[in-house]
């Protein structure tokens, strides 16, 4: 199928009209993403927050290295030098940089290993939640009708049963483990992105380019994933950055209540739980440092998430709060 010879068809007028005849033709598209990235780069709070996150990630990755250097494993109990005369923790010193816990374990090393758990749960659970949320939200929003009603009721049911009760019960029945925690948090929180995505899809599906795609003969799946999804991704990303700290806190709460990652694995929530029986006797470091670790992590993610939202939605349409 060959094209007829090229006619002038106003090509020169086109170039004149846009005044771009002199501009290099190798320009890459300046996508909406690119513009958002530019805005993000100028945000100082975002840069500090991102740097903090990267430091935390780095420390988490390097946890075994620190353990090796210090000669203290995360679950290694130093009964002789790690505990005081009453069997309680020892304060920060040259040997134990942040002190020890009630079992004589190096607090610093444990906190680093705890970071691994928190980050892993945060990212993976959010990933599950977002994937499920997008799938359900897209389907419910685009196909509408009965499917939408079923999904909407399903979401309603999930939202009506308190998360903690469900999570604790499941953990009880199946026995707590890291993967169970990730699964529970991920699956139980898909409702939030699902609702957002659904709302977005409903408002997008009436736009003309969706009609144009149907006129071209595109089937519903192609339209959902190729045409609608890219327009929804911005909101999804904002949500993901805000969901990560929520997942981290959820995991810490579950551990605090005793149904998270089982001991002796180092986990901030369970460390805080342990510490809650000791700090009143003056062992402040045992409580303070895990709490600080948790707080700094969630703060960093929240600040970064806020900045991402501002970068993607500078006019402040204020949909997310």
């Amino acid at each position: 199928m060959s094209m007829p010879e090229l006619r002038s068809a106003g090509t020169s007028e086109v170039l004149d009209e846009t005044g771009e005849a002199a501009v290099s033709t190798k320009i890459e598209g300046r996508s909406p993403w690119r513009l958002a990235y530019e805005r993000l780069r100028k945000d100082r709070a975002a840069k500090i927050a991102l740097a903090t996150i990267l430091v935390i990630v780095l420390l988490a990755i390097l946890a075994p290295v620190f353990a090796k250097i210090l000669g203290h494993g995360p679950n290694q109990q130093f009964i002789d030098i790690g505990q005081n005369a009453n069997g309680g923790p020892v304060p920060p010193s040259g040997t134990f940089w942040l002190g020890t816990d009630n079992n004589g374990r190096d607090l610093f090393v444990r906190i680093l290993y705890g970071a691994r758990i928190s980050l892993l749960v945060g990212v993976l659970a959010t990933g599950i939640s977002v994937v499920l949320g997008v799938l359900f939200g897209l389907t419910a929003g685009y196909i509408g009708g009965f499917v939408d009603t079923v999904i909407a009721r399903f979401i309603d049911v999930m939202l009506s049963i308190p998360f903690l009760i469900l999570a604790i019960s499941i953990a009880f029945i199946s026995g707590a483990s890291l993967w169970l925690v990730i699964g529970i948090i991920g699956v139980l929180s898909f409702t939030y992105p699902a609702r957002i995505v659904r709302g977005q899809v409903i408002s997008i599906k009436g736009r003309e380019f969706v009609e144009a795609a149907r006129a071209l003969g595109a089937g519903p799946w192609r339209i959902m994933f190729v045409d609608i999804l890219p327009n929804v991704m911005a909101q999804v990303i904002v949500y993901a950055t805000l969901l990560i700290p929520l997942a981290i806190v959820a995991e810490a709460s579950l551990s605090f209540l005793g149904v998270g990652v089982p001991p002796p694995t180092a986990d901030w929530g369970s460390m805080i739980n342990d510490a809650s029986g000791w700090y009143q006797y003056g062992y402040w470091w045992f409580l303070l440092f895990p709490c600080l670790a948790l707080l700094i992590t969630t703060l960093a993610f929240n600040i970064f998430g806020d900045s991402v939202r501002d970068a993607l939605d500078p006019r402040g349409a204020g949909i997310y709060v």
Partner: protein
Amino acid sequence: MIRFLLRRVGQSILVLFLSSLVVFGLFFVGPGPSQVARTFAGRLGTAARIAQIKHELHLDQPIYLQYSHWAWNLLHGNFGYDYYKGQSVSAVIAAAAPATISLVIGAAIIWIVYGVFTGVISAVRSRSLMDRALTASALFFFSIPTFVLGLSLIWIFAYKLSPVTTFFPFHGYVSITSDPGAWFQHLILPWFTLALVTAATYTRLTRSSMLEVLGEDYVRTARSKGMSENRLITRHALRAALTPVVTLAGLDIGTSLGGVIIVETLFGVTGLGWTVIQAINVQDEPVILGITILAAAFVVVANLIVDILYAVLDPRVRLY
């Protein structure tokens, strides 16, 4: 409008029914029932004794029959009887409810007042030092996990500030009827723990909502007509800006039963959250079921009320 109401109420009933199925299914799948029977029978329980207990508790019947027993009783207000002490679950709930109610209402008052107040100030003095400080503190309290805040408050107020430590007992609950003073004292720290974390969202929401309203044309018109700023804010802007806040408050109170679990456990406040955790630890199914379905009902009803209020205020919603 009536059609909308009927539809919406029907929807709520459906959701509640489905939730009850899920809740029931969850707690009766798994080792729960057999273990319970075994626990009752004690270490010396024979197989026959275990079977007898199972029969008494209806645990040997097919699931759907058990469900219909339970649901039927529920609709008559009978929540069943707990496995261990034989108390009626409704009595357990009635005993625990005042603590939770005190906790939630007290905290709600604090967080709504504080949240809205700071939000308004932030919006009105947008970009000032005050605004930045309030926004930063909102971000801080939004990020801090509830139990971390609770422990910190306990540490500071109950341990460190020596002269006043005894003023903040940090454990237990005293009912208002027996000793109002002690009731209040025991609840201060739990109130603030719950309220500060929740208030952060309200500050942010009120702030953005207020900013939006203050940018509206009719506000500009009123201002140019010479209306004083205070009057403008309180009489006109606030009303419009508060709609999303009221909605959120309704929903938050609806989900509060689940939200207080950590606070109640931490402070030993013997409310419904604390009770359900104890029940889970010993696998006391009727209590777990009773409180969970109550919580679900709360959420569903709160959603319903909020939706209806919205439809009353904004007729477009009724086009559903």
